[in-house]
């Protein structure tokens, strides 16, 4: 394929699909992963609501989900995906397994950021008579916001990587284009251009992430 209008359209469509998949899955991933990460933090033995059984169960579930390679998860989840969005293919069909893969990963990132918060500051809030909700929102999340933002950047990057495998279920996106044209059709030029777009996309995401996390950090 030559570098022409057709290729540009192909790449733009791919870019759009990728952005939709990555952004929607990461957002949904956080909707699940943020509360999970909070629960992992507060139910751990040094947390503000220690609960060994809840912690252990969540810990194991998160580990199991994280140990399944994404490609396998994608296939294993086909019936579930069908039940949720009515189809197991296309962009919508990819968002479901991406979210399932993202949530436990995000939960761990959130957990590690929240556990960085100085225990003394949490104790100070407790001594002021703060309830758990206030401690979670204003102390844990408020104080860990830099780490949480770095986590969002890492998540976007990781999901971007996973989304390349979406082609297996016809999910589209840049990764799919790179594999179809580059690997199956031996169109090295197209593959390289697609990869270049992915590289630029990753740089932009990382740049924005770094900028924001620096900007909000007051330490």
């Amino acid at each position: 394929m030559e570098f022409n209008a057709e290729l540009v359209k192909l790449l733009l469509d791919g870019l759009w699909d990728t952005l939709i998949m990555v952004i929607v899955s990461t957002t949904l991933g956080y909707a699940l992963g943020l509360p999970l990460g909070v629960i992992l933090t507060i139910t751990d033995k040094d947390g503000i609501s220690p609960h060994p059984l809840v912690y252990k169960i969540m810990d194991i579930v998160v580990n199991i989900l994280r140990s399944i390679p994404f490609l396998i998860l994608l296939i294993m989840l086909i019936p579930f995906t069908k039940a949720v969005v009515g189809q197991s293919y296309g962009t919508a069909g990819t968002i479901v397994p991406l979210t399932v893969a993202a949530a436990p990963f995000i939960a761990r990132l959130v957990e590690s950021s929240l556990k960085e918060v100085d225990k003394g500051v949490i104790e100070a809030a407790q001594s002021m008579g703060a309830n758990k909700r206030t401690i979670i929102l204003k102390v844990l999340i408020g104080e860990a916001r830099t780490g949480l933002l770095v986590g969002i950047t890492i998540s976007l990057g990781t999901i971007l990587g996973y989304s390349a495998m979406a082609g297996v279920v016809g999910g589209g996106g840049l990764g799919d284009i790179a594999i179809r044209y580059g690997y199956y059709r031996w169109e090295t030029g197209t593959m390289l251009v697609t990869v270049a777009v992915l590289v630029v996309l990753m740089q932009i995401l990382q740049g924005i992430g770094n900028f924001l996390s620096k900007k909000v950090d007051r330490r």
Partner: protein, 264 residues
């Protein structure tokens, strides 16, 4: 009138090797408006004791009465409300690093449900009290240790407490800054009538501002009484040991022997 009364307090911790009795059978009471010192060498149980006073550490046994209410008998919500009358300041300041000085001071008010604008207004007043109004929009990372502790004191005041607990509040500060903080604490004690309980390993802190002192040793009160009496005429080994430390300090600072032996 006693504002806080502790009866037969005990707390132990299980470590891998043994059971550590950090606090054993401690009883004392503090009158309203007093500055009460608890002094002891490290490991004497001071930190555990102070954390038991607002139940940050739940005692294994005993009772803590604040204004006649036994904190041990309160449910979670009641305890939360009770804690709002007992402020605490710490050796490491424990300020929120991502919040401005003003919002740190306003934090206890936010916790109590005061609106953010009202909290800021009141916070500014307390910053003025500690002489840091011009730092309202700074962040803790930009302040010196002494300034951070003054912010922590403003934050403690903002809760309008009956009692302020000081856990080694001056131990991370140099002697001059320590004096500034002690002056501030004693001013607050007089102006607001707030009772202060001060935990320290520094003799001079107690000498400077405490009306009464308890000497803690091995999780027990070895000796308790009027500060001057205890320091001038220590009866127990634990108190004498603390005095010896002080005397060697003074000797190093170049005071002559006679002054030291007179206990000046």
């Amino acid at each position: 009138m006693e504002v806080i009364k502790v009866e037969h307090l005990a707390k132990s911790f299980d470590t891998a090797e043994q059971k550590v009795h950090a606090v054993r059978d401690i009883s004392f009471s503090v009158e309203k408006g007093e500055i009460f010192g608890v002094i002891g060498l490290s490991g004497a149980g001071k930190s555990t004791l102070v954390r038991c006073l607002n139940l940050l550490e739940r005692p294994d046994a005993g009772a803590v009465y604040v204004d006649g209410k036994n904190l041990m008998e309160l449910n979670k919500n009641e305890l939360m409300l009770a804690r709002r009358e007992i402020s605490m300041i710490f050796q490491n300041y424990n300020l929120l690093m991502q919040r401005s000085v003003l919002d740190n001071v306003g934090f206890p008010l936010e916790i109590a449900g005061v609106s953010k604008s009202e909290a800021r207004k009141q916070a500014l007043h307390y910053l003025e009290t500690v002489g840091l109004k011009e730092k309202a929009n700074a962040f803790p990372a930009q302040l010196s240790g002494g300034q951070k502790q003054r912010v922590a004191i403003a934050r403690a005041l903002a809760a309008k407490p009956k009692i302020i607990l000081c856990d080694e509040a001056t131990s991370a500060l140099d002697p001059e800054t320590t004096d500034t903080i002690l002056n501030l604490l004693s001013r607050i004690n007089k102006e607001y009538g707030i009772t202060i309980i001060l935990i320290t390993h520094e003799m001079r802190v107690v000498e400077e501002i405490c009306n009464r002192v308890a000497v803690l040793d091995g999780g027990k009160i070895a000796e308790m009484g009027n500060t001057k009496e205890v320091f001038d005429n220590p009866k127990t080994l634990a108190a004498k040991r603390l005095l010896i430390n002080r005397q060697s300090e003074k000797a190093l600072m170049g005071l002559d022997d006679e002054e030291v032996s007179n206990g000046i």
